[in-house]
Amino acid sequence: MTTQVAARPAVNLKGLSQYGVYLAILLLVLYNIFFTPYFLTWSNLRIQLIQVAPIVIVALGMALVIGTEGIDLSVGSVMALAAALIPLYLGYGVVAAIIASVLAGVAVGFINGVLVARVGLQPIVATLALFVGGRGLAVVITHGQLKDVRNPDLIYLGSGDLLGIPVLVWVAAALVLVVAFLVRRTVFGRRLLAIGGNRPATELAGLPVKRVLITVYIVCAVLASIAGLLSVARIQSSDASAVGLLIELSAITAVVVGGTPLTGGRVRVLGTVAGALLMQLVIATMIKHNLQPSTTEMVQAVIILIAVYVARERKTR
């Protein structure tokens, strides 16, 4: 942000564009407080947080990738792969299952990263390949069978509480902090933003661009695999064909509505969380008022447009 003191309406507009999401959330919450019964209860808030947690986790990774001027369509497939592997390794205990699913994330992220950074594919195409093939592979692994999960440790992850707050929400909150910290305070974070800002310049400045890019895609996929794991824990079953379906669109929407530009060079971590929360609240409001899917979809479209319009980048030169 420019610290230049420019006492002009531009400042207000800028403020609006930055805080537009929060304002929208506020408005929606106010509406619900007045018009939705039982909205202002802890159990309701709790449900919203639980439901939004996996999307937030995926969106965090997506935000990082978008910060490098990329995009990752394969996150849903990564969730499916993670979900597929869990029942296979759960027999060795929950830790083994976690390791297996995270490794799947590492593998997919590595492939995406290499395709983008080394081969030089456009991110949308590079990740499209795994978007198509990844879920297929996941279903192949599970033979299409939905597997119930009964491991109490895993179920605790999905539906247990810690100090009165769901474990799931703790995990998501912790990951938000980690990613925010990563972006703001670490060398890796600054490099990532520089790559998104101007990749050729970053390369010439002697930064290990390829390594950073590959790492970003790995981080994104690992976050997706964690989301997949938590989803399995929450649903208490592993269904590779259903978990994380279309989540890439929800995640991208959350990131963009949260004010992170698709052109890279900037990542708004809290905005991303707010973006996910906003979309969650929209959907919850629609469901609570028992509206039909058609209405829900059209309202979502309008809200996305308004939120992005308000938060859009003003052309500076």
């Binding site: 297929g136 192949v140 963009v256």
Partner: protein
């Protein structure tokens, strides 16, 4: 002191350097051609293998089935090519396709013309909205058309009682368009051929086409050179919307009803076909011929997977994904070769 020129014999001498440059230019052209026609080359290879391996593939009927099935995706990919050439993207085409089909089937009760007019009007209008928002508010095409994807699907559900009502095609003329044929080739295929040729002429031989390339190559430069950038952008989204609606309409004519459960993932297929066809996602370079090859390639691969028969549905997707990656990596490698030389 004399100058140090003679002190060092330049190696190689300039003549050879010039020859090198000429040689490089020649390689450049050859590689460029292969790169541009890469999808076609792969298509030819795949078809040859298929002809050798699968007796059924050869049949005239099978070819007809492939072509007719490729008709709607071809129209959508045609529109998508224009959009991507300007450096944009249109995610709403899948929804517009379904919406177009439902509208066409519904409107067919008012006759043949209405069956076309309704989808073209509505989908065209959504295309206009996409184009205006993208051109004049500088919102990212990705997000605008993502919203349109949701909005159009909502609209489709709203007019079909949440998708539960399937309108049947009432106009016989319209129905014939879907299943009739001329010279044993379906009307749909003729229509698509005509539109594709039109698209090629539009792109290569009109000012509008050149404006499309210019906008994708560098929107700023195009604006400064006096090209109506905004208008060009609006037009490509309108075209994409119209073509998606038309694709929905001819599909409805073929199916005889406005099926509501179509079209998910259609936009990604179209994007994949365009990219496999050698069009740069960043815009400014690409051809319709490449897109055609891309669409047919995807269609033929699907057909082959079926010919093999009994391939588990999940393996099919693994194969598709792998194939997609291989083709795109090959493309990129060819482009790179070209840059370095």
């Amino acid at each position: 002191m004399t100058m140090g020129i003679a002190a060092k014999t330049p190696t190689p001498p300039p003549e050879q350097a010039a020859a090198d440059v000429r040689k490089a230019e020649r390689t450049d052209r050859i590689v460029g051609t292969v790169q541009r026609q890469g999808a076609l080359a792969v298509l030819v290879v795949v078809v040859l293998i298929a002809l050798a391996a699968f007796p059924n593939f050869r049949s005239f009927d099978n070819t007809g089935t492939i072509l007719v099935a490729a008709a709607p995706p071809m129209l959508i990919a045609l529109g998508m090519t224009f959009v991507i050439l300007t450096g944009g993207i249109d995610l709403s085409v899948g929804s517009l396709y379904v919406l177009g089909g439902v509208l066409a089937a519904w409107a067919s009760q008012y006759g043949f013309v209405a069956a076309f007019a309704a989808p073209l009007l509505v989908c065209g209008a959504i295309g206009v909205a996409n184009g205006l928002l993208i051109a004049y508010t500088r919102m990212a095409p990705f997000i605008v058309t993502l919203a349109a994807l949701l909005g159009a699907r909502g609209l489709m559900r709203a007019i079909s009682s949440e998708g539960s009502e399937t309108f049947l095609v009432k106009s016989d003329a319209f129905r014939r368009l879907g299943n009739g044929s001329f010279l044993d080739i379906g009307y749909q295929v003729w229509l698509v051929v005509a539109l594709v040729v039109l698209g090629m002429v539009l792109l290569a031989r009109t000012r509008f086409g050149h404006a499309v390339y210019a906008v994708g190559g560098s929107a700023d430069a195009a604006a400064l050179m006096g090209i109506a950038v905004h208008r060009t952008k609006v037009w490509v989204y309108v075209m994409s919307g119209l073509l998606a609606g038309l694709a929905g309409a001819i599909n409805a004519a073929k199916l005889g009803s406005g099926v509501t459960v179509l079209g998910t993932g259609m936009e990604l297929d179209a994007i994949a076909a365009v990219v496999i066809g050698g069009t740069l996602l960043t815009g400014g370079a690409g051809t319709i011929a490449g897109t055609i090859a891309g669409v047919l390639l995807l269609g033929v691969i699907q057909n082959l997977i079926n010919q093999v028969g009994n391939v588990n549905s999940n393996w099919q997707q693994v194969i598709s994904g792998t194939f997609l990656a291989l083709v795109v990596v090959a493309q990129t490698y060819l482009v790179k070769l070209r840059r370095v030389s």
